[in-house]
């Protein structure tokens, strides 16, 4: 029973993972990167 449940769970999840990532997220990451560059923020986060 546990096996059947997990098999279905993985199948449903895998289907979701295989979906193509919408452009809006790639654009968002580009924008965030650009904003940081414009601010002149240190690359890769601060070393505190």
């Amino acid at each position: 029973m546990e096996e059947q449940i997990d098999e279905n769970l993985r199948r449903v999840y895998a289907q979701a993972v295989e979906e193509e990532v919408p452009d809006r997220f790639l654009r968002l990451l580009d924008e965030l990167r650009k904003k940081d560059r414009d601010k002149g923020a240190p690359e890769g986060g601060a070393d505190t």
Binding site: D6, L9, R11, V17, E19, F25, E43, G44
Partner: protein, 184 residues
């Protein structure tokens, strides 16, 4: 590009998993993507709090679930469908080949509590260890274990797996063993 070694560039590799995890939490593709969007912005802004060399996916998932819970806790209470009208859509009997129809599985899965869905997704689908799942959800390892067990028991109930006798592991004793307490 000089940004080639920016560790934040690795976020993109986790986007498909973030969307899948968000979908299992929200049960709605549009809401899921809104949550992912907010989580990306938060992760980006707080990236200095990520410890390099640790599990980036788990860190992103933590932000994602916190985003979901803070944005949707109120709405969830309004929308929640206890014991679900959705249950009416379940087919009466499990399939005789022992395989569950994915459609039925989805409907059953959606009726689990938020906590059960996230625990089962992390452990059963993402393959997180109980320890990683506990850290991601900010709770004790034992809590994750019992959520996973209760989720499986509940799914079995919803899918009518518990009352078929052509399956081996479906007697009350097994279910009680899985949930760690008597199964009523």
């Amino acid at each position: 590009m000089s940004t080639a070694s920016d560790p934040r560039d690795e976020i993109v590799a986790h986007l498909p998993a973030m969307r899948a995890f968000a979908l299992s939490l929200t049960r709605n593709p549009a809401t899921a993507d809104d949550v992912v969007q907010d989580a990306i912005v938060k992760a980006w802004a707080n990236f200095d709090k990520f410890e390099p060399g640790t599990n980036l996916r788990a860190w992103l998932f933590t932000i994602l679930r916190n985003t979901y819970y803070s944005l949707h806790r109120k709405r969830r209470r309004e929308v929640e469908d206890p014991e679900g009208a959705l249950a009416g859509n379940l087919s009466e009997k499990p399939h005789h080949d022992g395989r569950l129809a994915m459609h039925d599985f989805r409907i059953a899965f959606e009726q689990l509590t938020d906590e059960q869905r996230e625990a089962l997704t992390l452990v059963g689908a993402e393959g997180f260890s109980y320890e990683e799942a506990a850290a991601t959800c900010g709770c004790a390892v034992g809590t994750i274990k019992s959520r996973v067990n209760r989720a499986r028991v509940r799914l079995a109930e919803l899918m009518h797996l518990d009352d078929t006798n052509d399956l081996e592991m479906t007697d009350a004793t097994t279910l009680a063993g899985l949930s760690g307490k008597p199964f009523a």
